[in-house]
C-alpha cells in the first residue's frame, strides 16, 4: 500500500485481530451505533467497576475502519473514569470533525483516515455508541 493508504499496519492488526470483540450478555450497559448508509452496525458494552470503566467490549459488523476503530476504542478507554472516557469520545469527535488534535498516541493509526470525509462515520460509530452508553449509566 502507498504511504497515503488508510490501511496502516496498526489499523489492519486491529481489524484482523480485534481486541475485546465478543459476547455482551454480561455487561452493565449496551448501546448500539448503526449507519444504514453502509450497513455498519456496532454494539458497545461496558462493565463498570468502582465508578470506572472495567471491561469494554464490542460486537457487530462493519468495514475494516469501523471494526478497527471499535477495537482501538475498547483499549483506549479501559480503566478510565466515566468523565475521562466521555472527554476522550468528545476529543475523537473533535479530531474528526474540526481542527481537533489527536486525543492520544494509541489512536495514531486513524490519522490517515481523517482526510477521507466519507469514512468519518465509520471511525466515530463505536465512539458514539460508547458515549451513549456512558450517558445511559
Amino acid at each position: 500500500m502507498s504511504d497515503n493508504s488508510i490501511y496502516k499496519d496498526v489499523l489492519m492488526d486491529h481489524y484482523r485481530n480485534p481486541r475485546n470483540r465478543g459476547d455482551l450478555t454480561h455487561v452493565d450497559v449496551v448501546r448500539r451505533g448503526s449507519n444504514p448508509r453502509c450497513g455498519d452496525d456496532i454494539e458497545v458494552g461496558i462493565n463498570f467497576k468502582d465508578g470506572r470503566l472495567g471491561k469494554v467490549m464490542f460486537r457487530g459488523r462493519g468495514c475494516s475502519v469501523c471494526l478497527a476503530s471499535a477495537s482501538m476504542m475498547t483499549e483506549a478507554v479501559n480503566g478510565k473514569s466515566k468523565l475521562d472516557a466521555h472527554r476522550l469520545a468528545e476529543a475523537m469527535k473533535a479530531w474528526f470533525t474540526a481542527d481537533g488534535v489527536k486525543p492520544t498516541e494509541s489512536l495514531q493509526a486513524l490519522e490517515a483516515v481523517r482526510s477521507h470525509s466519507a469514512r468519518k462515520r465509520c471511525v466515530l460509530l463505536a465512539w458514539e455508541a460508547l458515549d451513549d452508553a456512558l450517558r445511559a449509566e
Binding site: 500500500m1 502507498s2 497515503n4 493508504s5 488508510i6 490501511y7 489492519m12 481489524y15 444504514p36 448508509r37 453502509c38 450497513g39 462493519g62 468495514c63 475494516s64 475502519v65 469501523c66 477521507h116 469514512r119 465509520c122
Partner: protein, 417 residues
C-alpha cells in the same frame, strides 16, 4: 493499451476510444493514474460541454425571456434552441421538453403536479423493486398522504421484472406505473415499451426514470409512448444542475406547476393567477442558461457518434468485466450475467470484504468505483445486503480500466482476506 488497437482494427473501426478519451480533459490529464468507473453516478465532461458553458458566460450571458435588448434576445433564443436540441434527441416535440434541475426534480414535478390531485384512497401506484430513491420516495409519500397503495413489481433471479406475478398491475385501481428504464444497480434494461402499450389500453399513465438510459442507449419517447420521461444532463456528459421532463401534451396541459414564481405566469391578480402554457409554466425562476447550453452541447457531442456503436463498445466492456470478475474467487455479481438487455453497470460484492474497503482500496489504486446502497435500499433489502460495490462504464473506458478494476479487487482480497 492493446484493446484500443483491437477496437480500431475490429468491427468498431469507426469508434476510437483514444480519440474520445482525449476529448475529456480530466481523463486526458490524469492519464493512466485514473480509471474512472463511476459513470452511473456521474459522467465526465467533454471539452465541447465545458467550452459551451465557458462561451455562454464570456459571450452570450443575459436574462432569458426577460429582456428586450439584443443580448437578452440572443440569450432567449439560445435557451430555446437548447430545448429544441435536447427534445430532438429523445424524439420529443420541442415544447414538450421541460427543463428542470434534475431527474429527481422532474419526478417530483409529476408526483406533486399531476398525480397528487388525481390520487384517491384505494388507488394503486406501481413501482419496481429496483427503483432509485428518486423514483420511490415521491410515490411512497403520495401514497402515505392519500391512502393509496404502493405496489411493487418484484424481480426474478436474473434481475428482470416479474410482471407475471403482478395480477392487478394493469387493473382499474392503478393510477400510475413508475419505473426505471435502466437500473442504476443491476444494469437491467426494463421492457418500457411493452409496459406502456399495455398500460395505455387501460388508460394508465407511465412515468419513466431514464436517468441511466438517455445518452447511453437509444431512447425515443414517441416509440416508447410513455406519458412522462425524466433524465439528467450530468449522467450523459452534460453539466450538473440541469435535467429534463418530457410529458405527453394532455399530461403537461393537466399538470400543475411545482414551483410558482417569476417567468411562469400569464396574469397575476390579487387573489387569482393564471399560468403560461407549458413548458414555461414549469420553469419558474430565472432559467439556467449556461447549463442548458451545456446540456445541448452534450447532446451535440453524442450526436457526433453513433449511439448504438457507443453502447456496443460499453456492452463489450461489460461482458469482458463480467467474464473477468466471474473468474475471481468469492466475487458475487448481482443481476444478469450476460449483456442481453443490460447497460454498462455491474454491482458486486466480495466475500469477507466490506464494499467500503473495496471502494477505498480501488480508490488508492486510481480505480474510481462506487460503494454503498446506490440510493436503492429496497433493492439492497431484496439482495440481502446493506451495500454493494459498483463499476459502471462509459464510451471513454477501455479494457485497461477493467483490468485495473480486477487488480484492485485482487488487492482488496489480499489485504483483507
Amino acid at each position: 493499451m492493446s484493446d484500443i488497437s483491437v477496437i480500431k482494427n475490429g468491427p468498431l473501426d469507426k469508434f476510437d476510444v483514444a480519440t474520445i478519451r482525449a476529448g475529456f480533459p480530466l481523463l486526458a490529464g490524469a492519464g493512466d493514474s485514473l480509471h474512472y468507473l463511476d459513470n452511473a453516478a456521474t459522467t465526465q465532461k467533454p471539452n465541447a460541454v465545458i467550452d459551451a458553458i465557458d462561451d455562454c458566460y464570456r459571450h452570450h450571458y443575459a436574462p432569458v425571456h426577460r429582456g428586450l435588448y439584443p443580448l437578452a434576445e440572443e440569450a432567449s433564443n439560445l435557451y430555446e434552441a437548447a430545448r429544441e436540441t435536447v427534445a430532438r434527441f429523445i424524439g420529443a416535440p420541442t415544447d414538450q421538453l421541460v427543463f428542470s434541475r434534475s431527474t429527481t426534480e422532474s419526478v417530483n414535478m409529476v408526483a406533486q403536479g399531476w398525480v397528487r390531485p388525481r390520487l384517491r384512497q384505494g388507488d394503486q401506484i406501481w413501482l419496481t423493486r429496483m427503483e432509485h430513491h428518486a423514483n420511490y420516495l415521491p410515490w411512497q409519500a403520495l401514497c402515505r398522504d392519500s391512502g393509496a397503495q404502493l405496489c411493487i413489481i418484484d424481480l426474478k433471479d436474473d434481475g428482470s421484472l416479474d410482471i407475471e406475478n403482478c395480477s392487478s398491475l394493469y387493473g382499474s385501481r392503478t393510477k400510475l406505473i413508475a419505473l426505471s428504464q435502466l437500473s442504476n444497480v443491476l444494469g437491467v434494461i426494463t421492457p418500457v415499451k411493452k409496459i406502456c402499450a399495455q398500460a395505455a389500453e387501460q388508460g394508465i399513465a407511465v412515468m419513466v426514470d431514464a436517468a441511466q438510459s438517455v445518452g447511453h442507449i437509444p431512447v425515443d419517447v414517441a416509440e416508447l409512448d410513455c406519458d412522462f420521461l425524466a433524465f439528467s444532463a450530468h449522467k450523459m456528459f452534460g453539466p450538473t444542475g440541469i435535467g429534463a421532463l418530457y410529458g405527453k401534451v394532455e399530461r403537461l396541459a393537466e399538470m400543475e406547476p411545482l414551483l410558482l414564481g417569476g417567468g411562469m405566469v400569464d396574469n397575476v391578480d390579487e387573489c387569482f393567477s393564471s399560468w403560461m402554457p407549458y413548458p414555461a409554466k414549469f420553469e419558474a425562476g430565472s432559467p439556467n442558461l449556461a447549463d442548458a447550453l451545456g446540456f445541448a452541447a452534450a447532446v451535440n457531442w453524442l450526436d457526433d457518434y453513433d449511439i448504438t456503436e457507443m453502447h456496443q463498445h460499453v456492452t463489450d466492456l461489460t461482458q469482458y468485466a463480467l467474464d473477468s470478475l466471474s473468474r475471481i474467487a468469492d466475487v458475487k455479481i448481482y443481476g444478469p450475467r450476460d449483456t442481453w438487455q443490460r447497460g454498462g453497470i455491474i454491482s458486486f460484492n466480495l466475500a469477507k470484504v466490506h464494499p467500503h474497503d473495496i471502494g477505498q482500496i480501488a480508490g488508492e489504486r486510481g480505480v474510481a468505483i462506487r460503494a454503498g446502497h446506490h440510493c436503492c435500499q429496497p433493492l439492497m433489502q431484496l439482495l440481502g445486503v446493506s451495500a454493494t460495490a459498483r463499476a459502471s462504464f462509459a464510451p471513454y473506458n477501455c479494457h485497461d480500466d477493467v483490468d485495473a478494476l480486477v487488480d484492485a479487487i485482487l488487492a482488496a482480497q489480499a489485504l483483507m482476506g
